[in-house]
Symmetry: C2
Subunit: 501 residues, 2 copies
C-alpha cells in the first residue's frame, strides 16, 4: 500500500541526496526523534556525506541541530564523525557527539524538554531553516501520520522555512490513531488552559499538519528505529525497585495516595524499568502513566492489564519489546497516546495530574541536591532531559542510583554535588540499593542525617558523617546547610587526581 497518497506532496519525492542538498552551511535544522525512535533515517546520513565531501574540499560546512531528544548513531553519530555540528539542542546521548561537546567543539544547549518548543517560538534559538521529520504516511489530504515519537515535530514543521519529510515504510501503517497532537498551544498573551484531566484524554488531532508549499522533498525509507537492548535488572536495580514499590504501598496505607496510585512517569534506564517490573507483581490495579518514554516495563504492565492508560511522547523499547509492539499494534490502540513533548512534560499537566516521577541521577549530596547531567562538574553526560519538568511539579518524586560507581571508586552520595540540576527544594525521595531517604518536609540538616544513614554506601558513610559533623562544628553560626567550602568538592577533585574518591 502506498504511503504517500497526497497528489501534491507525491510530486516532491526525491532521493536523500537531493533532499540533503536543500540544507546549507550554517543552517539550523530541526529533526524528529526522541530516545532513538522516530528520527529520520536517510537524510542526516546523506547530509553527513555531503558535509564530509565539503570538508575534503576545504569548505566550511556545519549546522545547528535541534531535536526532540536523543536520536541514533546515524544522526548524531554520523554528523559528529564528519564534524558537521556547531550547535546542538535540547538533548543528546550519543557518545561520539558527547566527546565533541566536551572538547568544546560543539555548543550544547541543555534545556528542559518541556521548554525547547516554546523557547524556539519565543526566539531563543533564532530562525529554523529546515525541518527533517519522519512520518508513517502522508494522507491524500496532506495530513501526516506521525511515527514512533512526536517530540518537537509539530513545532519544527510549523517554524521551519523548508520541510523535508521522510516516509518510513518500516513503521506500521497502523500507527494511525496512536497520536494526539495538540494544536491549541500559542505564544503569550494568547495562551489558554490545556483542558486535560486524564492521561488518555484526547485534546488534539491524530495528525501532524504541514504547509505543502514549504515541503521541498519527500524521501521514502525503510529502516528500523535504534532500539537498544535493555539490561536485565540486576540485584541492585531490583532492590531499589522493591524499596520504591514498598514506599508507594506505605503511602497508600497512610492515605496519601489512592489505591490505583497516581500517573507514573519513569525515566529511561534499567532501574526505572525494574520498578515497572516490581509493579507488575504488586497488588496495584488500574494504574496510569503520564510519561516521556514507553519502555518495555510499561508494555508489560499494559499486557498484564495492570496499566489502563499510557501517555508519552515516544517509544524507547528493546528489540524484543519493539517486536512485541509491532506484532500486536492493534491491541494497543486506544490505550496509548503519543503527544508533543511540550504536552507530555508540561508543568501545568504534571502538577494537575499529580505525577509520581521516577528518575535516575548521577549523584546526590547529603542535603538533597541532585546532579543529573555532569560528570565531575565539567563534562556533560547526556543532559537534564525531562527530569526537571517532572520532578519540580510532581506529587511525589524519586531519584534513584546505585550508591557506588566505578566499582566503588566513586560514591554517588557526596558532600556537595559537582553540578546542580535539581535543587534541595525539588527532591522528595532518594533511593540507592542501600535504602530510601524520605526527605519531604525536612530541613537540610535533618536531610543530611537521613541521606547518610539510609542511602550512602557503608564504605563512605563515616566520612560523610565526619564531613557534616566538622562542618557543623566549624561555623556554629552557619548551620542551616553546613559546608566546609575548602573540602566540599574535594571528593571529586580527589577522583580526578587519584582515580578514587
Amino acid at each position: 500500500m502506498a504511503r504517500v497518497t497526497c497528489p501534491v506532496l507525491g510530486r516532491r519525492i526525491a532521493t536523500a541526496e537531493e533532499a540533503a542538498a536543500h540544507i546549507r552551511p550554517g543552517d539550523s535544522v530541526g529533526i524528529s526523534g526522541f530516545t532513538g525512535a522516530g528520527f529520520p533515517k536517510a537524510v542526516p546520513q546523506a547530509l553527513a556525506r555531503r558535509i564530509g565531501e565539503a570538508h575534503a574540499r576545504g569548505e566550511e560546512f556545519r549546522i545547528g541541530l535541534w531535536s526532540g531528544a536523543s536520536t541514533g548513531p546515524s544522526v548524531d553519530g554520523a554528523l559528529a564523525e564528519v564534524h558537521g555540528l556547531d550547535k546542538r539542542l535540547p538533548y543528546s546521548s550519543d557518545p561520539a557527539l558527547r566527546r565533541l561537546i566536551n572538547s568544546g567543539e560543539v555548543d550544547y544547549v541543555d534545556a528542559h524538554l518541556s521548554h525547547s518548543a516554546q523557547q524556539a517560538w519565543f526566539g531563543f534559538y533564532g530562525p529554523l531553516d529546515v525541518a527533517v521529520v519522519e512520518v508513517a504516511a502522508i494522507l491524500p489530504n496532506g495530513l501526516l501520520v506521525p511515527g514512533t515519537s512526536v517530540g518537537n515535530n509539530k513545532t519544527w514543521l510549523d517554524r521551519a522555512e523548508k520541510v523535508i519529510l521522510e516516509v518510513n515504510r518500516w513503521l506500521p501503517r497502523d500507527l494511525e490513531g496512536f497520536h494526539d497532537v495538540y494544536y491549541g498551544a500559542a505564544v503569550p498573551p494568547h495562551r489558554i488552559p490545556i483542558q486535560l484531566t486524564h492521561p488518555l484524554q484526547r485534546i488534539g488531532d491524530p495528525y501532524l499538519r504541514v504547509d505543502p508549499a514549504k515541503v521541498v522533498a519527500v524521501v521514502e525509507t525503510d529502516a528500523p528505529d535504534r532500539n537498544s537492548p535493555l539490561d536485565a535488572p540486576d540485584d541492585s536495580s531490583r532492590a531499589m525497585a522493591e524499596l520504591l514499590v514498598d514506599f508507594l504501598r506505605h503511602e497508600v496505607r497512610a492515605g496519601r495516595m489512592p489505591p490505583g496510585l497516581l500517573p507514573l512517569q519513569s525515566g529511561v534506564g534499567s532501574t526505572p524499568n525494574a520498578v515497572m517490573e516490581g509493579l507488575l507483581h504488586a497488588e496495584f490495579e488500574g494504574l496510569t502513566s503520564f510519561t516521556e518514554v514507553i519502555q518495555d516495563g510499561l508494555l508489560d504492565l499494559l499486557d498484564a492489564g495492570k496499566l489502563a492508560s499510557l501517555s508519552a511522547t515516544s517509544f524507547g523499547l528493546s528489540p524484543a519489546g519493539q517486536q512485541r509492539f509491532l506484532d500486536n499494534v492493534g491491541s494497543y490502540k486506544g490505550r496509548i497516546l503519543l503527544r508533543s513533548q511540550e504536552i507530555s512534560n508540561h508543568p501545568e499537566l504534571v502538577r494537575r495530574l499529580g505525577v509520581i516521577a521516577i528518575n535516575g541521577m548521577i549523584e546526590a549530596d547529603v542535603y538533597g541536591n541532585v546532579n543529573s547531567s555532569h560528570v565531575m562538574g565539567s563534562a556533560i553526560m547526556n543532559g537534564i532531559g525531562g527530569s526537571g519538568d517532572f520532578a519540580r511539579n510532581a506529587y511525589l518524586n524519586f531519584f534513584v542510583s546505585d550508591s557506588l560507581a566505578k566499582g566503588g571508586l566513586i560514591s554517588s552520595i557526596v558532600p556537595m554535588v559537582s553540578h546542580v540540576d535539581h535543587t534541595e527544594h525539588d527532591v522528595h525521595v532518594l533511593i540507592t540499593e542501600q535504602g530510601l531517604a524520605d526527605l519531604r518536609g525536612l530541613s537540610p540538616s535533618d536531610r543530611a542525617d537521613r541521606v547518610i544513614a539510609h542511602c550512602a554506601h557503608p564504605d563512605y558513610r563515616d566520612r560523610l558523617r565526619d564531613y557534616v559533623d566538622r562542618a557543623r562544628a566549624a561555623r556554629p553560626e552557619a548551620r542551616h546547610t553546613p559546608h566546609l567550602l575548602e573540602e566540599a568538592l574535594g571528593w571529586h577533585a580527589a577522583y580526578l587526581r587519584d582515580g578514587r574518591m
Copy 2:
C-alpha cells in the same frame, strides 16, 4: 461599625491570652502573613509571653510555625526571642529567627511558595493543629473578609483542627472586594484546569470560609502591618532598571514581546522597585502585573494609569505607600486582586500568562547558576520564596544584583555559586550595574564569556576570565562547563578566611 457581625462567631470573642491558651507545646500553628502584611497582631505575642513563662518554670514549650511568607518582629521576632520555635516554613526574613536557624536551633524548611499549600495537603508537614488568621471582618453569615494578604490562609483555615481569628479594626473595612480566593483547588487525581487567562480575572470568591465549629476564639485587634521604608533607588539600582527597561524595549522592537509587554512579576527590594519607576517614565502603556507582592512602584504605575491590572497575594508597601493606599482604597478596587499564593505563584498560570519575572539574587556564577538564599554556602539569608515559581515558568526572567557586595570585598559574580537555587537551565538574563548578559539559547561556555564581559565588576573580571581559561586548559576533554574543582569555591573560602574574595 462592628467588624464581627456573625452571631455564632461573635460568641467566641476572647482575649489574646485566652486564645493563645489553645496552643499546646509541640503544636503546628499555621498563621496568616506575607511580607509583613496580614500577620496576626496579638495572639503570637500572647503566645510568646506564655512560652516565656513556661520556660521560666522549666517546662518545654516550642511550636512549629507555618506561614504564607515573612511576618513581623511581633511574630517571628517575639517567638524567636523566647526560643519558642522548633520548625519554621516556608519563608522567613526575620533577623532574630535567622540567627536561630543558622545556629541549628530551628529547623527551617525553605520551600517554593507555590508548593507550601499543596505540600501541606499532601501531608509533607504532618497535621496542622491551630490556624491563627487575621481578617478585616466577619460577616453575618460567617464568611471572612480577608486582610492585606491572602498567602496560605485558605489552606490553614481548611486544614487546621482549631482556628483562632484576629479581626483587625485597623484594616480598612473597604478591603471587601479586593480578594479572589480560589476554592477549585483539589488534591490529585481530582484537579481540574485553572480557568484563568488574564491577571485580573476572577476565578474564586471575595471571602474566606471557615467551619464555625472549629473556631475556638475571635480576638479583636487594632494594629498596623509592618511596613518597612523603601530605600530610594541609588545610582546602581537606577542603572540596572534602565538596562532592564531598555532590554524590554529591544524585545518589543524585535517582535518578541507585545507593545504592552506581558504580565510583570517583581521581587521585593529596591532594584525591582526601581524597575517599576523606570517603567513609569517609559513609553509602555496598558501594563499588567501577575506578581506576589505589591510594592510602591506598582501603586505608582496604577496611579499613573500605566498599569491596568494587578494580581498579587500581598501588599508590601512603605509607610507612605500604605497611607496612599488607605487614603484611596476605593479607587483601587477593581484594579487589584489578592489571591492565595498557590495561585499567585502557580506554575500553570505563570507559564500560561508568559510572565516577565524580575528577581534579586545573592550571587550568580559565570555559567548562569543563581544563588538566591545562602550566604557563603551554609547560612540562610531568607529563602527561595517565589523566585523559582516565577523564574522557571517565565516567558523571560531577569536576576539582578550589584556586581559587588561589602564594599568590594565580595564579587556577586563568582566561578561557582556556593548554593544553587536556580540552575543554568532556568536563568535567562543577568543584570548588574555593569551591564546585562542575555544568556538565552547559549551553551555554558558562551554564557561564561558574556557574564564576565557584561556583568562582573572590572576589579574581578580578569580573575574570572583567568579561572575559565585555566579550567578550559586543564581538562580539554571536559570543556562543556569548565571548572577547577579545587578552586571553584575558593573565592568564598577566601572570604571566610581572609575577609575578602
